[in-house]
Symmetry: C2
Subunit: 508 residues, 2 copies
């Protein structure tokens, strides 16, 4: 490079320039200024969801000293508030219930859902890793419900769900396990930028400790070094309206998100500014099961996934007719629901309902009824009247559907009916449905080893790993339900094992 | 920043680090090392297609000294080999022919084609700029055919086409005009990286002169400074199979591209590595009018756009039936054609054909017949036999279509029939059809002033402009035909005018 021919004086100026680049939001390229690190460990993990905790634990199990940074005041990120549903290909409970499943079958389901955009090598890593990751969580004390569920887009029931019905049922035990393994866990600690050495290797982070996520420049700026590498597991950007709207103008303020307020993507942006390869950033998933009658993920989402969709039906209020396979993948369902608009483009919220037999496993029913977001009806006629559905049409639709259940074949939408029940037993339970921004399929590109790729040559950026939702291209156009936990835990474990096996850099 | 507290010795090390970052593909941050610039001008433009030439001319007209760099051995880039079709809302010829059109009507067509992903503010800039850009080309000697054409997805005929039937009919006169305006034009000159000052402003480029595009490290490395700014107009990456496949695995080696071999996206990658906001990179357009019987854009593409699609019909060989609106937007048509596969997933190439009346304006007919990629038949029966189409079905389909033309309404696909003719007069002309990778809708984000936006805050990167295909998000999921020239010329002129109005930086 021409600059190598420059004089020593120019090196000084170049140094000033590098600092200038930092203040302008560029890459921190600080070189061997090791004495300036306020702390040095083997591995730094950013984020404390499924992926971050799995990476930290895996690296610590392999003997690395690990520092885990969480920008929010509590651990768990968005994982802690997700539904705790984990797609496992070949779980003990599937075996017990005689459900024939395999990683290859799960792979085919995920490929179909990805609509040609998914990266099969990355999917393979995940599907084959689900059973080991499941055992990994059980080893650390995670408890699952004693039945397997059937989520949309999966060809067989393969969803294991935590007894708590939230991802917190996984993140809490993993936080405890990480502590026991000696991981140094910091809340309110936000990464601000990367530190690289003279070869471009990522060797540390500029971090704000005592960070208040409502105030971007808050906290104390420190430099942390990582001898082996960094794992970014910072999740998605569903709550960053400005960023998601720049990417897809249709996802503006009018659409809510199911995510926690910290899902704002700063670490993704820092990786992109470092030269990481962006991939399919505009593939953003809407959750099809949420309700316009409550904020965030809410209570209806789980009512629908566990009862309404697999055991009941969803109808257009104007016609009383079903309009989509209630177990299609999320994109197909969200697209179909978003088409339920009147002549002025205003939403006509569809109704999803189930009978008293189908509702049995829905744990959020009680609170849903209490807050009025789920409603109870003694007859289908009352239900129809309450939502302005033509009664005769609705009864006809229910009778048709019940016949499909008896015959084992959905003549309308070819929905898998493994878990379906006839809608006959009063009372009936119903909720209004409208999609919310839920998951970012796109982000930075990684390889099978969870190494982040450089945009200029698609080779790994030395020292930089990523896992979970902050990695992109795996799922393509639509991620299947239960596969966020699968992705987070498996790629987190991959990243943790890989980074722990890196040679130690001499930072002192 | 913490590094400001460092000693002079650390600045030296940071300088070395910055150089290290460069060699690893990072951002060149060279600061005020002005005496190292081998050349300093007001404005540097990278790329010599529609956008680059328009930017260079506009900046030069406004009094700026301009250097234009083209990495290939000839000027014009992919623009020179495109079809020379320019969508103009409100052209003199439309007025003469009584075709009612307006920028707002064109805007609505483009919004529809974008499927919710287009950025309306950027589209507005383009549609209102088409007539002024058209006049700009006429002023510099571009000649257009004396009739208006109707391309897919446009609600009225609004395509002006150069008499040469190629974009070279525009780029050649603009190159001459740029020379006359004093623009310093270099071929075989490739930009390698950006040079920024201490505030992060882009002030120059690392350039390889005497570059051989087949050898990445060829040529002489020089540093060029730009007092006012840089305009990147380097086009798309359709020919970079590794990069496009990383983004969308379905666009692999099996799909050809219509583009010139230089459409490989290095400047895009350099902007992304600099921290530019990526936008919709996976929105990649396939051209629906190309032929599997020839390489590249070929002769059939123009036969189809000028004759086969607006005046003939396209049928499934197995059924003799039409299967898509031949004037739908490119995405709808490409998706429909790619669905024409047999049970093993192999292409069943559809046939597009037209009669001797409809073919009249197809200039590539003669060479198409000569090279056997277009075939001539005395009867429809012979045509059917040659391609294995059930004859009766084909005759029936033609008769139905002819009735639609007589009645002015396409009962099958609601295609606009303004330019359609009854298919009756022998001989008939036919070609096989299969899509090719054609245009990158996604790239880096710009604002209305053609300023490139930073990924971390969506604010402009000082000194950096972009125009044409290397900008993303304008067209969304599908760009309409004739709108590449519109986009290139209009955003190029915007970038040229804006950069010329920047205050001059003191680089000496």
């Amino acid at each position: 490079m021409q600059a190598l021919e420059s004089s020593r004086r120019n090196f000084i100026k170049a140094g000033l320039a590098a600092i200038g680049a930092l203040s302008a939001g560029g890459v921190t390229a600080q070189g061997k200024v090791n004495h300036k690190f306020d702390k040095i460990v083997d591995v730094i993990v950013v984020g404390s969801g499924f992926a971050g905790l799995a990476a930290a634990l895996e690296a610590a199990e392999k003997g690395a000293s690990v520092l885990l940074l969480e920008k929010m005041p509590v651990f768990g990120g968005n994982s802690a508030i997700n539904g705790g549903a984990f797609a496992v290909a070949g779980s003990p409970l599937q075996e017990k219930e005689g459900i024939k499943d395999s990683p290859e079958l799960m792979l085919q389901d995920m490929i179909k859902s990805g609509r040609g955009l998914s990266h099969v090598d990355l999917l393979k890593n995940i599907v084959y890793g689900t059973r080991p990751a499941f055992d990994f969580t059980v080893k650390y004390g995670v408890k699952y419900k004693p039945f397997v569920q059937h989520f949309g887009g999966h060809s067989v029931p393969r969803i294991m769900q935590t007894v708590e019905s939230t991802g917190g049922g996984i993140t809490r035990p993993l936080v405890e396990a990480a502590r026991k393994q000696g991981v140094d866990l910091h809340t309110s600690a936000a990464m601000e930028d990367f530190i690289r050495d003279e070869n471009g290797r990522v060797i540390g982070l500029v971090v704000r400790e005592k960070f208040n996520f409502l105030q971007k420049d808050s906290g104390l700026v420190l430099n942390y070094g990582a001898r082996k590498g960094i794992v970014i597991a910072s999740g998605g950007f569903s709550q960053n309206v400005q960023f998601r709207k720049a990417i897809d103008p249709s996802l503006d303020e009018k659409l809510e998100s199911t995510n926690h307020p910290g899902a704002t993507g700063e670490c993704l942006m820092a990786m992109l500014a470092l030269g990481a390869m962006p991939i399919q950033l505009d593939q953003i998933q809407l959750g099809p099961w949420s309700s316009p009658d409550e904020r965030g993920f809410g209570l209806v989402s789980q009512f629908n996934t566990i009862a309404g969709f697999p055991k009941g039906i969803m109808v257009d209020c104007r016609t009383g007719r079903r309009f989509v396979d209630e177990l299609a993948d999320r994109k197909a369902r969200s697209d179909a629901i978003l088409n339920q608009i009147d002549e002025n483009g205003k939403p006509v919220y569809p109704i999803c309902f189930v009978d008293s037999e189908g509702v049995k496993l829905a744990q959020t029913l009680k609170n849903g009824l209490k807050y009025g977001v789920i409603r109870k009806f003694d007859t289908l006629e009352e239900l129809a009247k309450a939502y302005g559905i033509p009664t005769d049409n609705l009864i006809k639709q229910v009778n048709e559907f019940n016949e499909y259940v008896r015959n084992g074949k959905d003549e309308q939408f070819n929905r898998p009916l493994a878990l379906a029940v006839e809608i006959t037993k009063a009372p009936f339970y119903a909720a209004r449905v409208w999609p919310k921004v839920h998951y970012c399929m796109g982000s930075v590109a990684i390889n099978n080893r969870a190494q982040v790729l450089n945009v200029r040559d698609l080779k790994p950026i030395p020292g930089l790993y990523a896992a979970g939702e902050v990695t992109g291209g795996t799922h393509g156009a639509s991620r299947l339900g239960g596969c966020a936990i699968a992705d987070g835990l498996v790629t987190g474990r991959t990243a943790g094992a890989q980074v722990a096996a890196e040679p130690s850099q001499n930072l002192s």
